[in-house]
Symmetry: C2
Subunit: 207 residues, 2 copies
């Protein structure tokens, strides 16, 4: 129906999450008919990002810098480290706004059947972080990381990954915690799935 | 929150129609985390399309070819010409599947207050098309275009454009028609806007 280059563009746009055939067509038409400048800008942004964005050498989040802005921010608490599966999780936690420590991004979770082992999710790098020491007021050495907060997803793999990391952290004398899971605030019980409800009961706290 | 290149990419993605801040973030994360090949392909498709896609010299639809595949298709009826506002309209009519003539794309409509005059919507090119002649069986000359079907949108500007084109076509001895407007097939009367209903009554046909 369209010319080959337009069909190519529509096909390429369909690779975007949430974009079906109709929206891809609409996007292609919009870019070519109404806003070629935006199309050119998007092309070069994609090119630049693909070429230059790598991972922060400290926390492994996506960045084109050697060390990301979060890791470089001295107004954050560098003794707290929160382990997440993806950069999008960092964003979600930042938008919640009450955590002011640093992050460590796994880019996945342990998954032996898919051949994803500890090194693939950066646990060697995390191990080094957990091994970093500093002297306290009395001159004694203590871990740089005061607390490791594990915020992997509450899935089977996320839980297994959390347990694995927790053991390693405890072995190095670092305190470990896991974020709470249960009924979302404002969530109505009748719409919560059974697994979440069961977990909420098992993890109930004394009032 | 994100590094400059990622923020640039998110901003560029937001230029796509129907893409808000959340989806742009999700798209950027997806491309950088999961599918850099797709990102690279999208970048080059955009680049290619922006550079090479122009307009068919016959019908003005978007294509990188001198003459588009529709105009070049000898299995279509070259004596029927349908005037539409956008390439997306061509697609919609093609998908309906019962029209087998050619198209002429205005890329807009007459809009004197916006400084859009006849030449801006290709009416000079359309005029040449309407002036093309061929000899019939008896050797007499007749217009190449047997019927001009006007399918501009049923808006004030679309109607004015339709009237303007119709006059020019009639002056050249070409038969002109306008596609029907009214209650959509399968549409329920109670949900149809008043303007459409009024038009449907005025355009009623004898049974
Ligand atoms: Zn970092
Ligand atoms: Zn054409």
């Amino acid at each position: 129906m369209f010319s080959p280059l337009i069909e190519d563009l529509i096909r390429a746009l369909r690779c975007l999450p949430g974009v079906g055939p109709k929206s891809a067509q609409r996007m292609a038409m919009y870019l070519l008919e109404k806003d070629r400048d935006a199309a050119g800008l998007l092309a070069s942004s994609l090119q630049q990002a693909v070429e230059k964005v790598g991972r922060c050498s400290r926390c492994r989040t996506l960045t084109e810098q050697e060390i990301c802005a979060l890791c470089n921010n001295m107004r954050r608490d560098h003794s707290l480290l929160c382990v997440v599966e993806t950069p999008a999780d960092v964003l979600a936690i930042e938008q919640a706004g009450n955590y002011h420590g640093l992050y460590f991004v796994l880019h996945g979770h342990l998954s032996p059947i898919d051949g994803v082992g500890p090194a693939d999710i950066g646990l060697d790098v995390l191990g080094e972080r957990l091994g970093e020491k500093q002297s306290n007021e009395t001159g004694a050495e203590e871990p740089m990381i005061r607390e490791l907060i594990i915020a992997t997803n509450p899935t089977v793999e996320g839980e297994a990954t959390a347990q694995f990391i927790a053991e390693r952290a405890r072995a190095r004398g670092v305190a470990v915690s896991r974020i709470a899971h249960g009924v979302p605030i404002g969530g109505e019980l009748e719409y919560i799935d059974g697994g979440t409800l069961a977990h909420a009961f098992n993890s109930r706290t004394v009032l």
